[in-house]
Subunit: 592 residues, 2 copies
């Protein structure tokens, strides 16, 4: 039986000792953003994840969703769990109090997303999509739309979706064909077919509020002619059924308890959200939060995979330690004595803890970017979020899959067997590298849109603090062993940045050819910057005296592993970046 | 619909122009080992894979195997395909002519294994396991046993299994509990339970011949007290049912059309194969061939994944090329115009072609090691096989999974959907990293058993030719750009080899801590050595004049990609090796 325990100790360490999330309390409305209230909320949330969502994760994978006569049935227990989830107010953690939300920072939501995805990735899709619909309407909806939809989305009585993709257009939304015809009143008749619609149809909520991209008559071609509409499954005025129906659900590798629907719209009634032809812009506004949410899926699945790999490694008796039996009274030693099993576990631990700090940092800056009183602070935070979001999305989801695969490897043959639970993590994790912009698209966003923006201003939001940190600590004896490798990898990152900026100006394929390797190189430096700060925080605790020495000493040892064995991966990607585009572009199509 | 075309052109290039497989014709019995006969056989085999095995691969995954009343039913079409496979003589390609085999080199089998696994990984498990049983009996069986079993295994009327694993012992066979009690005649009563038995029960063959490891009464503890028995499902004397039954079949991530069985033995009648207590040695004799077979599974699945990624990349229209529309008349450009899609495709292509050369090289040496007239030649080949087998097994299966995942990524959202076929490749591929010795065990085999053997003699079988090649070609203008990076990475390999040898002597955990990174570093150098020879062969063809310039020029461009972007991965692993064991072993168990 798989295990999951919410990593509250580490979460609190990151929030309180590494990031100083208490700085959020200076923001109006967030006065209680950290401390007891938030800790209580997270403890309650952890219980919900451990006791309600996790127990139906495996059965949900086995049963999957079923479609019959246009009705999607979720697996056993999902309805009850959703009820408990919504009644606990978890759909409204960072929702606007004006509409019934708790008004807590997004950061609290970010932490919850991690735990929810550890416990039950599929389940998390339903409130996750509602969150997206909530934000679209909160930002761009009319007052009437807000009054109609937001309170119900916050209670979870209604859920939401985002209907973007069509069969012939995923990344390339400019090719979209779904049409919206004005009805003469303020409504539109929308016709078309959307695919890959998560939570498009299900039996958890009373109503489903679809946010649909479509073209108005005479709209400009391409992405500049796309508008956003709200299309409820049941019309709020009389709860009559609207013309949007689930045509089929996908047979997927994983997240089988999350319904992925083909949604057919036949003269479905919808209302414009925001300005005509500005639908894509509305979508992009929410993109950072959505992509951070996907990054949390990567971390969440890695965390639960790690926990299961660790439990198995401590339990499974097989062979003796290479340097002699550690438990001579047992028939064999637990496999955690083996260096390579430790390598896999430490890779997992170093990733989870490092990326927890990194993604919470982004989450915290997302709050600052939205709510801080000082516009300069807001701008600085917004820049940092813009820069780091594609990085955490791509890196954390790549690693979510990789760490799940490591957990399988630790389990040996049992890792391949459904009952042990870990192969599900790998299957579930895989989607996060693809949706919400494939990881290749994230990398293009980084080199194409973020890198050069405002003469490198986004980049400086990260490069300057790292630079300053290295400078300030180069003589710090206790950090010495970490400052040096960080400085070296940072120097290489600056070098590859300069090369891409310079070559990419002349030939955009040069930037494209470097993009994925560059993103990984960047992510590793960012992880190093997090790890050194975690060492500093842990060292401080140890110097002050603590009764939890084990926790803080483990941090320092894990950092040592990260700097010795994971950070050097960046050198490889650096070389790939520096090798240029010719080795990719010289191939003619028929030479492949 | 997924596609598969056997890569015959590349297979012939490797056999004829890179490896000079015609040298096998100097071996007695192998006079026709290459040339027309083998090419005809491979062409026939390719047709069988494309037209018979591939069309039932996806349906086999969907339907899976079912167990009812002890009877396992394979998916629709498998019985007919097996009949066609066996009637074509494909179970006996390299079987002993004395028992009805074709007597062709193992290398022909190795090539067939690649194509079979591309077409239908699950199907390949059934004849694959028979091959293992065949070899165990051929090496260690009595004349009577050989007469009884081998002809039927060669025709495929009967199939075989290897029953090693028990619930509490996978890697650590010393913990085995299955018992064999002598019956007074030459037979034994065998009782115990085996798990993860591939092809343990199915409806393809008339009889199943299990090779079972068990303990004789009073046998020494541990691995020195294990004996090998042949336990037929139906006793050959009267075809009465023996006491070995399938208790359940596993619910697995992939290879769903291959039955993975719990086999319960209750006083099953069996006969000793080879000497008492020497069962493990008998198993290990066949290990190189079996592990090479698994390496071919990695390559096979990568090849078919690559082909499907490529087909999709040429077909899918989405976005414009970064440097301007390539097909302005189409609504968008095919995604193969994008540098990062090309990076994924070239990674796949460079892996498949490089590892094809590498693993066929191992396969050819396996033949030489078994059959060459000159004992020195046999020894040299045997050493090389011993050294490279764990490397190709681990590297090629790791990459089989990775390349399948890249094919999914190229497919975007469709990659996650069952109908497109590529997510099945990832699920199928994943097992090969685990079975036949996990890839961590392969790495321990490399550093623990192969590296130091005979004062480094195995290593020299690889290091010397590489060294000589570099020396001989350092002034070769056409190879210059490849010789230099190969020499650099080779120097680092020699350095890490020396460090592991030196540190590992004092502390075996040092060797264990380096093992997996070292194996990957080694594999990349071996791939580099193959790629440079392929460049040389291609260059020769171009210099001679050829009407297939595209093929040879593509080779050189792919090599350029490999050296620029894949080989540098070794630098990362080199640093990990050099970082030593402390960063793994310093963690106490409760600090994880």
């Amino acid at each position: 039986m798989p295990v999951y325990n919410a990593p509250l100790e580490d979460i609190k360490f990151v929030l309180n000792d590494v990031l100083d999330a208490s700085s959020l309390t200076k923001i109006e409305g967030y006065e209680e953003a950290t401390g007891d209230l938030v800790e209580q909320i997270l403890e309650e949330g952890a219980k919900l994840c451990e006791n309600v969502l996790f127990p139906i994760n495996q059965s949900g994978d086995e049963e999957g969703c079923t479609l019959k006569d246009g009705v999607v049935t979720t697996p056993k227990g999902f309805k009850e769990a959703y009820k408990e989830f919504t009644e606990g107010g978890w759909c409204g953690v960072s929702g606007d109090p004006e509409y019934g939300g708790m008004g807590l920072p997004m950061l609290v939501n970010t932490v919850m997303q991690e735990m929810i995805c550890s416990a039950n990735f599929s389940f998390g899709m339903y409130p996750g999509l509602s969150q997206g619909a909530y934000e679209a309407l909160h930002h761009y909806g009319t007052d009437e739309q807000k009054q109609t939809y937001l309170p119900k989305l916050i209670t979870g009585e209604w859920s939401g979706t985002m209907c973007l993709t069509e069969a012939h257009c995923g990344t390339d939304l400019g090719l979209m064909r779904t049409k919206a015809e004005p009805n003469g009143d303020d409504s539109f008749n929308i016709t078309g077919s959307k695919i890959f619609i998560s939570a498009g149809e299900h039996d958890l909520a009373e109503n489903i509020i679809h946010l649909v991209l479509a073209r108005l008559p005479g709209a400009p071609e391409g992405v500049k002619g796309i508008s956003l509409f709200v299309v409820p499954k049941f019309l709020p005025e009389d709860m009559s059924r609207n013309g949007i129906e689930c045509g089929s659900i996908e047979h997927k590798m994983g997240i089988k308890a999350s319904s992925t629907c083909v949604m057919n719209l036949e003269e479905a009634k919808g209302w414009l959200v925001g300005a005509p032809h500005k639908g894509l812009k509305a979508m992009f506004t929410m993109m950072n939060a959505a992509r951070l949410g996907v990054a949390m899926q990567g971390l969440g699945i890695a965390e639960v995979a790690y926990q299961n790999g660790l439990a198995y490694a401590k339990d499974r008796l097989q062979m003796r330690a290479l340097d002699g039996a550690k438990f001579p009274d047992k028939p064999a030693d637990p496999i955690i004595v083996h260096p390579d099993v430790r390598r896999m576990l430490l890779t997992s631990k170093a990733f989870c803890e490092g990326s927890r700090a990194l993604s919470y940092w982004v989450g915290m800056n997302l709050d600052i970017s939205l709510k801080h009183a000082d516009p300069d602070e807001r701008q600085a935070a917004d820049d940092l979020v813009a820069l780091l979001t594609p990085i955490v999305k791509a890196y954390q989801t790549d690693m979510g899959f990789e760490i799940s695969s490591l957990a399988m490897q630790i389990h040996g043959g049992h890792g391949y067997i459904w009952e042990y639970g870990v192969e599900q993590y790998a299957r579930d994790a895989r989607i996060a590298m693809i949706y919400e912009g494939t990881n290749g698209i994230q990398a293009l966003d980084l080199v194409g849109r973020k890198m050069g923006a405002h003469m490198g201003r986004y980049l400086r939001r990260f490069f300057h603090p790292v630079s300053e940190y290295i400078e300030a600590n180069q003589a710090n004896e206790k950090l010495q062993e970490f400052v040096f490798p960080l400085a070296k990898s940072f120097a290489k990152l600056q070098q590859s940045t300069a090369i891409i900026a310079q070559k990419g100006l002349k030939d955009p394929n040069e930037a494209g050819a470097a993009s994925v390797d560059y993103l990984r190189q960047f992510a590793l430096v960012a992880m190093g910057y997090m790890w050194i700060q975690m060492v500093e925080a842990a060292q401080k605790k140890l110097d002050e005296g603590t009764d939890n020495k084990k926790f803080y000493e483990s941090k320092i040892k894990t950092a040592r592993f990260f700097f010795a064995r994971m950070l050097p991966e960046g050198d490889w990607h650096f070389k790939a970046v520096m090798s240029g585009a010719d080795n990719l572009m010289d191939m003619t199509e028929d030479e492949f």
